[in-house]
């Protein structure tokens, strides 16, 4: 007598793995799984596949050398032009060039880096040599501590011109914006000589310390440092100098390093190169250059020195404490203050058209800004308001936990802290887990919390940290 073979319920199991089953269906299938070895093994295969698929999904698109694309299109365009000439048909060279230019614009608009930037005009080799250059004036858009240009102390809004030298004292920093998508940061104890500053070309010389740069694709940009030159093509990179040792850290894009005009190496991000060992290695460092976000037209945020605060982070850009001034767009910005004791105070600031100033009381939550001068605001939500929303959605968080317990981490327990940023209208702007946990749980909880809607916070956006206890019973 033949024994009946139980076949795995693939359809239902796949639905379970992709959270597509109802609560009731999930429970029924879990009950079946508790007794069915075949289906349990099948579910594990599905989970293994899902895990690898998630790994593939998380892979960033590869960094493409767009200059190669540019070249191949140019080659194609000249081929087409030659054959058109041979045929002596109506198709004219300007039309083909126009098509090539349109396509190049498409390429750049599709490149992930260029997507956030201004459209780029494709350069015509040789033409720019003869073209006149147009002077560019850099704008100091953020200053912390003491920054000196050509011997005079500079304030926010100051200008940087070709031929000038920028010096920062220990603990200071200057952000200089040159154009959309292009700018540099001079951290403390550094000196940068600006040799050439035109719309067509930027040449900086690093005499000591560091300079971090963000360069829009298509800009000719060079940093000379001792006998080395770092030539850039649309990138995010930092150059450090200690005596004659030079280090280049590249976070995005590509740079070429030369010495006495002889090419030494081509770096593709992420990479670090040091003149000491002449070896380029792959690194995963993030260089914080937020300069391009700080526009000269934006209102000014002032942060005076405060007791116990050693550093500030505004929208991810870090500044040493002191007299800080920066230009920020109107709207809400995340502000973090790091205390001497290592505690991080988190809040948000609303930039108004007339500017904003952070006071000690505001950051410590002791009092509100005087109503007469509402230059900045930090919102408030009561604990009971938060609790009522979270309690109502608690069962969905439970489901997330339960799912991870039953599928991939049966022993998962502990405590999690979740930072939630609520917008002025009560919707969640951002959710971030402050503690590490199982990736599936993190995804599920974050997805759930992103959909929460709170009462509109008083006085503007609000950020709070919610502790979650993961406990099995």
């Amino acid at each position: 007598m033949s024994q009946k073979i139980h076949r795995p319920k693939w359809m239902a199991l796949t639905a379970l793995a992709s959270d597509a089953l109802s609560q009731e269906g999930t429970e029924r299938l879990l009950r079946h799984l508790a007794q069915c070895e075949v289906c349990e093994d099948a579910l594990i295969e599905i989970e293994a596949y899902e895990q690898v698929a998630a790994e593939v999904r998380d892979l960033p698109a590869p960094e493409i050398d767009w200059s190669k694309m540019e070249l191949s299109i140019e080659r194609e365009a000249s081929k087409a032009a030659r054959s058109a000439k041979r045929r002596e048909e109506g198709t004219s060279w300007p039309l083909i060039a126009l098509a090539a230019a349109a396509l190049l614009a498409v390429i750049f608009s599709l490149s992930p880096r260029a997507a956030e930037e201004e459209p780029v005009v494709a350069s015509i080799p040789g033409a720019e040599l003869a073209a006149p250059e147009h002077d560019l004036v850099g704008a100091v858009v953020a200053v912390a501590g003491e920054v000196v240009i050509d011997g005079s102390r500079i304030e926010i809004g100051g200008e940087v011109n070709g031929g000038q030298s920028i010096q920062t004292r220990e603990g200071g920093v200057a952000h200089v914006r040159l154009a959309d998508g292009t700018g540099f940061q001079v951290p403390g104890a550094s000196e940068v000589q600006v040799h050439r500053l035109t719309e067509e070309r930027v040449v900086l010389e690093l005499r000591g310390g560091s300079v971090a740069n963000k360069v829009r694709t298509g800009t000719r940009y060079r940093v000379d440092v001792g006998r080395y030159s770092v030539l850039v093509r649309g990138t995010l990179f930092r150059v450090d100098r200690q005596d004659d040792d030079v280090t280049v850290t590249l976070d995005e894009g590509r740079v070429e390093i030369r010495r006495d005009d002889q090419p030494i190496t081509m770096l593709n991000a992420p990479a670090r190169w040091s003149s000491a060992d002449l070896i380029a290695e792959e690194v995963v460092a993030r260089i914080a250059v937020e300069t391009p976000r700080l526009s000269v037209d934006n209102p000014i945020l002032e942060i005076p020195p405060m007791t116990d605060i050693v550093a500030w982070t505004v929208d991810g850009s870090r500044f040493p404490a002191g007299n800080i001034a920066m230009r920020l767009p109107v709207g809400v910005h995340e502000v973090r203050a790091l205390t001497v004791g290592g505690e991080e105070l988190i809040g948000s600031i609303t930039m108004l058209p007339e500017g904003a100033r952070i006071s000690e009381d505001m950051i410590r939550g002791q009092s509100e800004t005087p109503a007469a001068r509402p230059r900045a605001s930090v919102g408030q939500l009561s604990a009971s308001e938060i609790r009522s929303v979270v309690s109502a959605r608690n069962r969905f968080l439970q489901q997330c936990y339960q799912r991870v317990l039953s599928r991939s981490a049966p022993d998962l327990s502990g405590r999690l802290r979740m930072r939630v940023n609520v917008k002025r209208d009560g919707h969640v702007r951002r959710v971030e887990l402050l503690d590490e946990t199982h990736p599936a749980l993190e995804r599920c909880i974050t997805r759930e919390a992103n959909g929460w809607v709170f009462p509109e916070p008083e006085g503007g956006p609000v950020t709070f940290v919610l502790p979650l206890n993961l406990r099995q019973r």
Binding site: A34, I44, Q51
Partner: protein, 190 residues
């Protein structure tokens, strides 16, 4: 978008850049055939997938060499060790080897749905097939992949590892958790 589509279709391969280049050369050659009936991105997407498929066909007919490892970091997370990254890279390479065994149509839906996260409806528009057909292809493609996992040692190890983890867990407690596990939330707000 183009680089991403090509990369997802090909997997970790040093040929991604060449295929992307081919796509743009083809865009240049065929731009005049774009009539504006669909969105430009849809047209571009189709062209990119077709060029990639052609590349895969050519690749299948070529003698196979030992795979050149992709040295890019798979994920820039500080907590990952180089060993984790190497293992992950191996798993991804292995899954693409399994994809090579699927038919072109099945491979396409798997890549679009499971790797790119595109909905079945959108896939149906892109590949010009009914939604039901897309779902059916997806179902059978996944089934083939599940069955083939054991052919790749690195994926088979992963399955064994997950099985071991599951087996070490007492069944009774699982049944209880599914009905009564609790997720208490402390209400402290900072």
């Amino acid at each position: 978008m183009v680089a991403r589509v090509v990369y997802r279709m090909l997997g970790p391969s040093p040929e991604v850049e060449d295929v992307v280049q081919d796509v743009f050369v083809n865009v240049f050659r065929s731009l005049h055939t774009f009539r504006g009936d669909s969105k430009f991105t849809t047209w571009l997407y189709r062209l990119a997938t077709n060029v990639t498929k052609m590349h895969l066909r050519k690749k299948r007919s070529r003698p196979r060499f030992v795979d050149v490892p992709d040295d890019r970091p798979v994920e820039r997370v500080e907590s990952r060790t180089p060993r984790d990254e190497a293992e992950q890279r191996e798993r991804i390479t292995a899954i693409y080897r399994l994809l090579d065994q699927l038919s072109e149509k099945k491979r396409e839906v798997i890549v679009l749905h499971d790797f790119e996260g595109i909905s079945a409806k959108e896939i149906s528009e892109r590949v010009g097939a009914p939604v039901l057909t897309v779902r059916t292809r997806l179902f059978y493609a996944r089934k083939e992949l599940y069955a083939a996992l054991e052919n790749e040692p690195v994926l088979s190890n992963l399955v064994d590892h997950l099985k071991k983890k599951k087996k070490t867990r007492p069944k009774k407690s699982k049944a209880r958790q599914s009905s009564s596990s609790e997720f208490p939330i402390a209400g402290a707000v900072t």
